[in-house]
Subunit: 138 residues, 2 copies
């Protein structure tokens, strides 16, 4: 059986993921990084849900420690940092898109574009590839 | 623009989902209900991650209030309750499977069966349909 510790309670692959990103703020940060191509602390801080500065800083550290994002100097201003998804992070695009498709389907007042869910259902692989390519090229 | 309240901060479809299931325990309960066909409070309580009784009870109430699960009398013991995913809940199977595929891919010590990720990648729709059919038939 899997060894149980505070950091690693089971060998379940879902629990493995959730120990890294199983909270609402982390998943919202991943949304901004993966689907909205945000890169800078201030951009992430300005998201509509109103994340607190200390929570954002904490979650970015955790995501970096887990190898999901990395940090580098901002070419536009060397004193600033840009955050980018690693390949391990880019691999979370399908998780975020499935949550988006579920929310857009079940929220009658969603702000999602009307063509998002039909487009995703008709060409799921193509939708994922489009977001993924944008992250790699950017 | 979307109206912002404590319960509904934005019209983002990802945030809509995360306000319902954006925490680790809720997602682990959904794993048990959707992928492991657990139905009873005691079965959910016995999961390897060691959820506390009060957290389990709270999250089940929230999932029921959100229309993701419903309750009925246990045919085997009318004093007991069984929990089942509604169609809105069954529609979360792809989210859970994507998290599982990510975890199984990125955890070198995963307990996931070796054929899970290749099978899911080769036939994602078929894998989802198999889990979904089992929930509806059960």
């Amino acid at each position: 059986m899997a060894r149980k510790t505070a950091m690693r309670r089971t060998g379940c692959p879902i629990n493995f993921g959730l120990e890294i990103f199983g909270d609402r703020w982390t998943l919202l940060i991943l949304r901004d990084l993966l689907l909205q191509n945000k890169r800078r602390f201030q951009e992430l801080l300005n998201s509509d849900e109103g994340i607190a500065t200390n929570i954002l800083a904490d979650r970015l550290k955790r995501l970096e420690a887990a190898g999901v994002i990395d940090r580098s100097s901002d070419p536009a201003d060397g004193r600033k940092v840009i955050y980018r998804a690693t390949e391990k992070g880019v691999a979370l695009v399908p998780v975020l898109l499935e949550i988006a498709a579920w929310g857009a389907t079940h929220d009658a007042k969603t702000d999602a574009p009307a063509d998002f869910v039909p487009g995703f259902k008709a060409d799921r692989a193509g939708t994922i590839a489009a977001f993924t390519a944008r992250l790699r090229d950017d």
